[in-house]
């Protein structure tokens, strides 16, 4: 257990140090600045009156969510493949519990990186929105968004890690396809099955956190929002992380990865 834990932490810190290059930092900073740029541009085009508060809040959430997903696609989905492509997998796999430590360590590094970028994006976006004077309680909005982003990053990173372990050659494509089909389309179906999506639970928590009042007496709203209490949403997300990471560990342990020209 200690060996595995140390291997995991070592992988995480090694990956973080390795990723802190000027090129990568510039890319992530540009990504983080994207929501603020859009908000400023929309704010300028909206003129002196500015934008409506719900629209601005929704826009920030959507944009920083997109930034988080993009950062995760770059970091979490390519964990196994980057090592196989770089032919360094064999050095990690020949350590005790090295395969699992690599996958989980890279997952942690992806969470730290994507959450850091998302948090920076949120901060810049809130500052940009506040510059136009559109958020009544910017601190509370920032804290709730930061909390939701943490949940989103940990959960989606676990999902992308599993996809990256199973379909390592086309991980990004499969992750993007999953996001479109399951997290976008399936999560909008007013049925019990939407409870299996991550977005459903994050959305429920967002309604509670932001204090949005939804017209739940109306049929479409009642079916799409306000189904589960907060503890169920937290438990569902926690279970999702545990199950996907457990499955990733199982698959990476029981799969043969051919790393080079076998001679």
């Amino acid at each position: 257990m200690l060996t595995w834990l140390r291997g995991t932490l070592s992988t995480c810190s090694f990956e973080l140090v390795r990723s802190l290059t000027a090129q990568r930092l510039i890319l992530l900073t540009l990504l983080a600045a994207f929501p603020a740029t859009i908000i400023v541009l929309i704010g300028i085009s909206a003129g002196r009156e500015g934008l409506q508060i719900p629209f601005m809040e929704t826009l920030i959430i959507l944009l920083v969510g997109l930034v988080g997903v993009l950062a995760l696609l770059l970091t979490a989905s390519t964990g196994v493949y980057s090592e196989l492509e770089g032919k360094s997998w064999v050095y990690l796999a020949c350590r005790p519990y090295g395969r699992v430590a690599t996958v989980i360590g890279k997952y942690l590094a992806a969470v730290v990186l994507s959450y850091g970028v998302s948090l920076l994006a949120t901060t810049l976006a809130v500052i940009a929105a506040q510059w136009r004077g559109n958020l009544p309680r910017p601190e509370q909005f920032w804290f709730v968004t930061a909390g939701l982003l943490f949940l989103a990053c940990t959960t989606y990173a676990a999902l992308f890690t599993l996809i990256g372990t199973l379909f390592y050659r086309r991980a990004m494509v499969f992750c993007a396809a999953y996001m479109i089909v399951v997290e976008f389309m399936l999560a909008n179906i007013p049925a019990l099955i939407r409870g299996l999506t991550i977005r459903c639970h994050l959305q429920e928590l967002a309604i509670l956190g932001y204090g949005w009042i939804m017209p739940l007496q109306e049929e479409p709203y009642r079916l799409l929002y306000g189904e589960y209490p907060a503890w169920i949403n937290f438990t569902a997300l926690g279970l999702f992380v545990a199950l996907t990471l457990g499955a990733s560990a199982y698959f990476v342990m029981n799969r043969e990865y051919v790393t080079g020209d076998e001679t």
Binding site: T3, R6, S10, K87, Y91, C94, R95, P96, T259, G260
Partner: protein
Amino acid sequence: MIELQTVTKLYGKVIGVNEISLKMDSGIYGLLGPNGSGKTTLINLIIGQLRPTIGRVTLFGQDPWSRDYLLREVGLCPAIESHIPRVNALDWVTHLVRMHGFSRADARQRAIDALTRMRMDHAMKRPMRDYSLGMRQRVKLAQAIAHEPRLLILDEPFNGLDPEARFEMTQFLQQWSREGRSLILSSHILHEVEAVHPSFLLLSGGRLLASGSPDEVRRILADSPNRVTVRCSNPRRLAGLLVNSEHVDSVRLLDSRQSVEITARSASPIFLQLPDLTRAEGIQVQEIQSAEESLKELFTTLMKHHRGEV
């Protein structure tokens, strides 16, 4: 230490290794075979990176596929060149040692010790992308020995090394064997492996063709015909002298009668006879070529043995 029981590994329809059975006690082993003979597959089976399609592999008495902790006792220096840009050797080796469960401080000290032993102390804080092939090979070896394994496995460690680095590598391997630790050395170059006096495992086409000490392998080859080509000032005269030798099966003039090819049961008696014969007759020898040291020749002979043709 290692046991394989009728192990076969298939990659789809391609055979990696074919019905290999062997038992390896602690010691020094040379895994020899031409490229594509199944050496890396065999190594990956031993360290549990591959699961045999048929048969059973045990390492230290246990199944390496399902007993990951066995890798604590194994150091592997793979043949493949990996790309680890923007990282210096010290950080990389420290990271890999930490994955064995050592604390950060302990792992760093072990990494420094191993890199110093590999004479990389002067460059260990430079990015690895700036290293020469020989330097990268030394770093690869450092990461394999830093956690002091019981068994060191080196897959083609001489690849890309200049003569000086080859000499140093040989010295290191001889030192390792003197320390009483186990070693599996995979190569396709016979004389490099011979320098550490191992027991041989000879692979070709995924099959184990022969195994044993160098003497045992030579005994296998003793009855196989060997060819020696001598380029000299008077090949016709030399051929006449050699044809009477009891060790010679046949002689043939080659290259417009510039050299003579001798076929013999064993090349060694020919080499012993040649100086006396040439000195007595005043024949100047310009070049002697023996096919005996060629691994290709060796494996051709072994394959003939395997098929029952010899």
